[in-house]
C-alpha cells in the first residue's frame, strides 16, 4: 500500500490526467454553479435591482479584514484564524514557488512567488486554524448544534491537503507518499468546491454583496 502511495506511477496519474480532470470539474462545475445562481437570482427581481457595487465592495473589505467587523472583534481568535486559514488555502497555493515550478515545467510560464518561509509559516497557522475550527465544532454548543457530517468532510479535505503539503515540503516521513497524497487531496478539494458548501468561495460575493447593498442602499446603515 505504502509502496503504491509513493509510486511514480501514481504520481504520473495524479500529476497528469487527474490534474486535468480536477481542474476541469472545478472550473466547469464552478461556472455552472455561478451561471445557475446568476440566472435564478435575476429571476428574483429584487436582487440585482438593489445590488450596488460600492456598498458591496466596502462590505467585502470589512469582512475580509481581520477585526474589520464588530462580530470579528467579538471573536478575536476566530477572526485571526479565519483570515490566515483562507490566505493559506487560497492565496498561498497560487503564489507558491513549488506550484509555479510545476506550471513552468509544463507550459514554460511562471509568476511572482512568495518566499517559502512565509508560505511555510502560514501553512502552519492554517493547520492550527483547522484544529481550532474542529475544536469549536466539538466544544461550542451553538456550533455543535448546527454541525453535520459534511462539515467534517470539507474541513478534513482542506486539513489533509495542508498537512500533506507541510510534511512533503519538510520531507518528514515517506516524502513521495505525502507528495502524492497532497496532490490527491488538493484535487479532491478542487472537485468538491462546486458540489459542496466550499462553493462559498464564489457565493460569498453574491450573499455579502447583496446584503451590503440592502443595508447600504435601502437600510442606510453599514453591515459590519
Amino acid at each position: 500500500m505504502l509502496e503504491f502511495l509513493g509510486s511514480d506511477t501514481l504520481y504520473k496519474i495524479l500529476r497528469g490526467p487527474m490534474c486535468w480532470v480536477a481542474f476541469g470539474i472545478f472550473i466547469i462545475g464552478s461556472i455552472y454553479r455561478i451561471v445557475k445562481w446568476y440566472k435564478e437570482l435575476s429571476d428574483e427581481k429584487v436582487v440585482f435591482a438593489y445590488f450596488k457595487p460600492w456598498y458591496a465592495l466596502k462590505s467585502y473589505l470589512h469582512w475580509l479584514t481581520p477585526y474589520g467587523s464588530r462580530n470579528w472583534r467579538l471573536h478575536p481568535y476566530m477572526s485571526l484564524f479565519t483570515f490566515f486559514f483562507h490566505v493559506g488555502i487560497v492565496i498561498i497555493p497560487i503564489f507558491l514557488s513549488a506550484h509555479n515550478l510545476l506550471i513552468y515545467e509544463s507550459w514554460g510560464i511562471s509568476w511572482w512567488t512568495v518566499p517559502d518561509a512565509i508560505a511555510d509559516a502560514i501553512t502552519l497557522i492554517a493547520l492550527i486554524a483547522c484544529v481550532f475550527f474542529l475544536g469549536r465544532r466539538l466544544i461550542l454548543k451553538e456550533v455543535r448544534y448546527v454541525t453535520s457530517a459534511s462539515d467534517y468532510y470539507i474541513l478534513g479535505v482542506v486539513f489533509f491537503t495542508l498537512l500533506t503539503a507541510f510534511l512533503a515540503y519538510h520531507q518528514i516521513g515517506y516524502y513521495k507518499a505525502f507528495l502524492n497524497l497532497h496532490i490527491f487531496f488538493g484535487e479532491l478539494m478542487l472537485v468538491s468546491i462546486p458540489f459542496t458548501r466550499l462553493a462559498h468561495m464564489w457565493s460569498f460575493f453574491f450573499t455579502r454583496g447583496y446584503t451590503a447593498s440592502e443595508f447600504g442602499y435601502v437600510r442606510r446603515v453599514k453591515d459590519w
Binding site: 436582487v47 448544534y145 450573499t207
Partner: protein, 444 residues
Amino acid sequence: MAEVAQTQFKVEDPGIEEGLQKLTDEKKDKILSEFVAFLKKGRFDVYVNTCIHCGLCSDACHWYQSFKDPIYSPAGKVKQTIWEILRRDGKVDRAFIRRAAEVAFTECNLCKKCSMYCPFGIDIGYMMNLVRRLCHLLGVVPLYIQDTVNSHSATLNQMWVKQDEWIDTIFWQEDEGLAEIKNFKIPFDKEGADIMFSVIGPEPKFKPQLIKEVATLMTIAGVDFTFPSFDGWDNSDMAMYIGDFEICGRNKKYHFEAALRLKVKRIVMCECGHAFRSVYDVGNRWLGWKAHPIPVIHAIQLYYELLKTGKLKVVRKIKEPVTLHDPCNVVRGRGLGKYARYIIEQICEDFREMTPNGEHNFCCAAGGGVINCGPIWRGKRVAGNKVKAEQIKATGAKIVITPCHNCHSGIADIIQTYNLDVKNVFFVDLLLQVVEIPDHLKVE
C-alpha cells in the same frame, strides 16, 4: 434580576392547533413540494449552500443571548425548519409543522441583526419570513396575528376599527386637545397639505392620546398636516409578518393612494417601526415600486427637522438619565439612529447609551409580529429577552425612549417582569414636556 432557567415552553395556540386539524394530507403535500422546489433555487439555494455552520450568528440574537440554548440561535432556527424540510424532501408531519410555526412566529423577530453578523450576510430574517409564508399557505398561523391580518383584509386596518370609529376618535382627541391648545384642530382630508400623518391601527384602538400629542406638537411647530378620514389611514402591516404578501400589497396600495388622493407632499409615519419597514422595504416591492412612490419619512425625521430648523423651541431639558432603545426597523432598517441621537442631545441632559447600540442594538423581542401572536406567548417572549432587561438596567437610566410601538409594548412587558426602575416613553411624550408653546396657542 429574576432568573429564567426555563428554555422550552409548551404553549397551545388555537390558531396553530386548529389549522393543523383542518390541514388535509393532500394540501400539505402539494404546498410542501412546491416549497421544496422553491428552496432549491435562487436566494434560498445560495443561502443554504453558503452557510458554513460556523455559529457566528448566535451572538447577534437576543433569544440565544437570553437562553444560551442553541435551538434559539439563528442558524439553529434554520436547522429546525429549512434544512429539515430539505433533508426530508418536504415529507414532514404535523408535529414538524407545529414546531416550525413556533420557531418562525414566536422565536424570531425578523430583526435581521443576524444577517449583519453572518460573515456571508445570509438573510436569516428573510428565510424565517418565508417559513411563515409556508405556514400561512398551510393555514397554520397563531390565532392572534391571523386575526389582525383578517382585520387588514376586511377593514384595511389592523384593529377592526370602523370608519365612523376612526373619525370619532380623531374628534374626541381634538376635544381633549382644546384644553391645552387654543383653537386646536386635527384637520381631516385637507387637500394639498404638506404632510399626511399616518398612524397604526392600535393608536385609535388603544392609545388615542398619542394622536392628540403628535397633532399638538405639529400645531406648535406650525406644520401643515392632515389625516385621511377614509381607508388608507392605517400604515401598519401584520400581513407581511405572516407572509401574506397579497394582503400586504393591497394595504400599502390603499395607503399610498390615500396620500395621492389628498395631494400631500409627503407621508409622515407615527413612531412605529414595522409599518415603516412595510412602506420602504416590503409593500413597495410587492407593488412593483423600487422605493415608495411618494416621499415617506418617520416621525423621528420630522422631529429632527423641526428641531434643526428651529420650528420647535426647546425651553427646558429632561434632567433624569435617559437611554434609547434603537428599534430594528428604524435604526438598523433605515439608519435613523443619528437623528434620534440629535433629538436626545437637544432635549435631554443626561443621555446614556445602551451597549451595544445603534444598528447593533438587541431587539425588543416583541417586533416582527411576535407580540401580535398574542398574550399566550407573552411569558416566552419576555423570558427570551432577559438580555434586553440586563442591557437597560446597566445604563442606570430612569427613562427609556422607545420610538416604535411594538418595541414600546415589548419593553413595557420587560420592565414589568424584571422589575426595572425605568419609565418607557415615546419621543413625542418627552418633546411635549420641553418645547415652548407660542403665546397665540396658549389657552387663556
